[in-house]
Symmetry: C2
Subunit: 263 residues, 2 copies
């Protein structure tokens, strides 16, 4: 099977021009089939403020109301996505910017209303993903750059977590390619001691993870990322790497720093 690298880049990198430039250079240099998945970082909040769209929370949960889905469609799908594409093109990377509505690559279901109505949030059913269009792009030297948006198939764009999208794509594409899923974020990896930046856990399997969770050693923010990683691993993805872009994207064929998650 051909190798495919799916790289999720976090908001902290997108928010920092120097970090973004360095990241894009390293992404462009990856010599494999590859996909970039991104959210929007703080720019959505900044533009939202200018437009008078305040973040809407119920019981501490962020709600995607009508104005907010339009905002993120503009910012993630337009401003951020097209700037990333234009810069990658300048680096000889044949980027093609997409959302999950484009070529129907990420059909989703609007999250059912239970205690909370999350609004225009999409849940992906991995079984429903049809990746033939992505395969066409990948096999014709195009590099999909995917904003964290899905759609309901009835004309509505939906907001979906970028880590979840990366994991779902990795899962379904692992039927066709040998997939390495890479989560780039602001830390060097999963930390055994959140107060110590150098306490990176180099290898994590389910057993070790469960033990760390039981001991409440891990930062809350990292848990969904690791859950997405294990969901991918347990569905056929070869390996997941979590850590700093500089560590993870250089010399991808060699041993890398960061946290490696395998079955």
């Amino acid at each position: 099977m051909e190798k495919l690298c799916i790289i999720k880049v976090g908001g902290n990198i997108l928010d920092d021009p120097a970090a973004q430039e360095s990241f894009l250079q390293q992404f462009a240099a990856v010599q494999q089939r590859k996909i970039l998945v991104h959210g929007g970082g703080k720019i959505a909040t900044t533009v939202g403020k200018q437009l008078g769209i305040a973040p809407n929370y119920i019981n501490g949960r962020r709600i995607t109301d009508k104005d907010t889905i339009d905002l993120v469609t503009m910012v993630y799908g337009g401003l951020v996505n097209k700037k990333l594409v234009a810069v990658l093109q300048s680096l000889n990377c044949n980027a093609i910017g997409l959302t999950g509505a484009d070529a129907n690559i990420l059909p989703a279901i609007k999250r059912p209303v239970k205690e909370i109505d999350y609004g225009f949030v999409g849940d992906i059913d991995v079984e429903q993903l049809a990746v033939s269009s992505l395969e066409v792009l990948l096999n014709n030297s195009m590099v999909p750059v995917i904003a964290a948006l899905t759609h309901d198939g009835k004309g509505q764009v939906l907001n979906t977590n970028a880590d979840t999208i990366a994991s779902a794509l990795a899962t379904v594409l692992s039927k066709i390619y040998e997939v390495r899923l890479v989560y780039c974020f602001e830390k060097k990896g999963v930390l055994e001691n959140v107060a110590d930046e150098n306490s990176v856990i180099n290898f994590l399997d389910r057993k070790k993870y469960n033990a760390l969770v039981a001991e409440k050693k891990l930062a809350d923010g990292i848990l969904p990322k690791i859950d997405n990683a294990f969901a991918a691993i347990e569905s056929g993805v070869q390996e997941v790497l979590i850590g700093d872009a500089n560590d993870l994207l250089q010399n991808m064929t060699k041993n890398v720093k960061g946290t490696l998650i395998k079955k």
Copy 2:
């Protein structure tokens, strides 16, 4: 050669929800390879006002300054493009939303500064267009929906007139496909008498056009559209149609109303 229909939709249709819905239904029903090219309509001005970005004019010419290119990247490339794509997907049309930066489909040159600095405006050199990526999409049942944005290949998105983009794409794709270029706008066609909505000129060639221009019979606003049409025709495009979407998109194989431009 396979047939390809390139359809440019105007702002007046995008600004009117009922007209847009009707247009998209008819576009989705066109049974040929097809491409949709769109601008942004009034929504860019509306969002710009909310963001405090005022239209910038020098000597009556609209200037695309830094804030404005970010605005149109958000609005044309994000909000408008992705909503069109999501609705087309709901109509079983496998739309894929792109700008000219995506897959490098529309490289352009930032307009040189002479008397006026137009800012981030892109001029297309038709000779430089590489359409192999578009061909891959078209030949794999995808329907490109292209926002009126180009890029300079150095990381900068540029603003380019949607009529010009449609004409340039028609020209270069006419080497591979039998191309019909369709400009949908708010009139029934090119009018012989601008005060009379029913004075549609059904057929226009260069000779007749030159005569009408000499007599100053045509509305100023239509001239660039017709110039783009002739540029396409004189470079190999089979025919150009100008008129109302309802007239032009129904029964595309039969005789249609509107203005037909041929060599």
